[in-house]
C-alpha cells in the first residue's frame, strides 16, 4: 500500500469491495425476491459464494491476513453477492 493510496484512507481491497457492492445493488434492485422461498437458501448461496470467492482469489496483491495466515479471497465476487442480498432486503421492505 503506497502513500498516495494511504492518503485517501483506502486499503488495497476497498475498490473491488465498493464497486462490487454498487454493481450488486444495481442488478439486485430489480430482483423479485419471492423466488427464494425458504431462508435456508440464502445461507446455502452465501456459503457457496464464499467457497467460489476463495477459489477465485489468486492475484497476489489482494490478500488478507487472518490469525497470522495469508488468505487470498476474491472480494469483488463476495461483495457482489452481498450487494444483491442488500438490494433484495431493501426491495422487500
Amino acid at each position: 500500500m503506497s502513500s498516495e493510496v494511504a492518503a485517501l484512507g483506502l486499503a488495497n481491497q476497498w475498490g473491488p469491495i465498493l464497486f462490487g457492492l454498487v454493481y450488486g445493488i444495481i442488478i439486485g434492485y430489480k430482483v423479485n425476491s419471492e423466488e427464494i422461498k425458504s431462508k435456508a437458501n440464502y445461507i446455502i448461496v452465501l456459503v457457496v459464494a464464499l467457497l467460489i470467492a476463495s477459489a477465485l482469489g489468486t492475484y497476489p496483491d489482494y490478500q488478507w491476513t487472518l490469525f497470522g495466515y495469508i488468505i487470498r479471497f476474491s472480494e469483488a465476487f463476495f461483495s457482489t453477492v452481498i450487494g444483491v442480498f442488500i438490494a433484495m432486503i431493501i426491495r422487500r421492505q
Binding site: 486499503a11 450488486g24 442488478i27 477465485l56
Partner: protein, 265 residues
C-alpha cells in the same frame, strides 16, 4: 418471365466468381508471411507495464481510448436500431397474452438452480469487470457474462416470471449511464490538463499521469481518480466499470427484444 429461368445462370456466374474470390483470399492469406511485422506492439508492451499489468486493457482504454469510446456508442446505436425496428412498447402487447409454456418446459432442477446460478454468474462477471486491469478480462467480457446470467433466468423462467425483472427503461438508463461514465471521465482529464498545462488532452489518464503534467500527489484531490489498488491503473478501472454497465445493459436489452419478438406474431 419467371424468376427461376434466369436464376440458374445467375447462380453459375455467382459460383464461378466465388471460386475465383476464394482462390484470391486463400492465396492472400497464405502469403501473409511477408507482412508479419510486430508494428506498434513492442512499444505498447514496453510502456504499458508502467500503467497497469494487463497490456490489452491499457491498449484498449488508454492508447486507443477513442476507439473504445466509439465502440460503446456503436453498441448503443445497435440497441437503438433494434428498438426502432421492434417498437418501444412490444412488451405491452406481450403482457396481454398469457403464454406459460416456457415455465412448464423447464424442470424442477432447472427452476431450483437457475436463480442462484444467475447470481453467481453476475458476481463472476463483476469480478471480471473489476479485475480488468490486473487479470485477463475487462468490461466487455464481464458485461457479456452478466448478460448471460440474466438471459439464463429468462430462458428458464420465461420473460414474465423471471426473478431478475429488468425493464426496458432501466436497461436503457444503465446503458447510457455506462457510456456517460466513459465520456465524463475523459472530460475530467481534459479539464485537469487544461488547468495545469494549458493544452487539454481528452481521455488523459489523470491517475497515472504518464507525462508528468498534473503532478499527481502534489495536492490532495489530484489522485482522487486513482483507483484504490496497489497497481495504480489510474482511470482505467472506472472506464472498465462504465463499459461493463454499457455492455451488460445493451446485450440484455437486445436479448430481451429478440425474446419478445418470438411471442409477437
Amino acid at each position: 418471365m419467371k424468376t427461376s429461368d434466369y436464376q440458374q445462370g445467375r447462380n453459375i456466374i455467382a459460383g464461378v466468381s466465388l471460386v475465383i474470390a476464394s482462390f484470391v483470399i486463400l492465396r492472400t492469406l497464405f502469403q501473409f508471411s511477408d507482412y508479419l511485422i510486430p508494428g506498434m506492439s513492442y512499444l505498447y508492451n514496453l510502456y504499458s507495464g508502467n500503467i497497469a499489468p494487463n497490456v490489452i486493457t491499457v491498449i484498449l482504454f488508454d492508447f486507443r481510448g477513442y476507439d473504445t469510446l466509439g465502440e460503446t456508442f456503436i453498441l448503443i446505436t445497435a440497441v437503438i436500431t433494434t428498438t426502432i425496428v421492434f417498437g418501444w412498447g412490444s412488451l405491452k402487447g406481450y403482457k396481454k397474452k398469457e403464454t406459460p409454456e416456457m415455465t412448464e418446459k423447464s424442470t424442477v432442477i432447472q427452476r431450483l438452480m437457475a436463480f442462484p446460478l444467475a447470481i453467481f454468474l453476475v458476481a463472476f462477471g463483476v469480478t471480471i469487470v473489476l479485475g480488468g486491469h490486473i487479470s485477463p478480462g475487462g468490461g466487455f467480457p464481464g458485461g457479456a457474462v452478466i448478460a448471460t446470467g440474466y438471459f439464463l433466468t429468462v430462458v428458464i423462467y420465461g420473460l414474465k416470471k423471471t426473478p431478475l425483472r429488468f425493464t426496458h427503461r432501466y436497461l436503457v438508463n444503465l446503458s447510457t449511464i455506462g457510456a456517460l461514465i466513459f465520456l465524463l471521465t475523459g472530460v475530467l482529464g481534459l479539464v485537469a490538463t487544461t488547468y495545469y498545462y494549458g493544452t487539454g488532452y481528452y481521455l488523459y489518464n489523470t491517475g497515472v499521469d504518464p507525462y508528468d503534467i498534473i503532478h499527481v500527489g502534489a495536492f490532495g484531490w489530484d489522485n482522487l481518480l486513482d483507483y484504490p489498488d496497489p497497481t495504480h491503473p489510474g482511470i482505467l478501472p472506472y472506464l472498465n466499470i462504465g463499459v461493463g454497465l454499457n455492455v451488460l445493459a445493451g446485450l440484455s436489452l437486445i436479448a430481451m427484444f429478440l425474446m419478445e419478438a418470438r411471442k409477437d406474431e
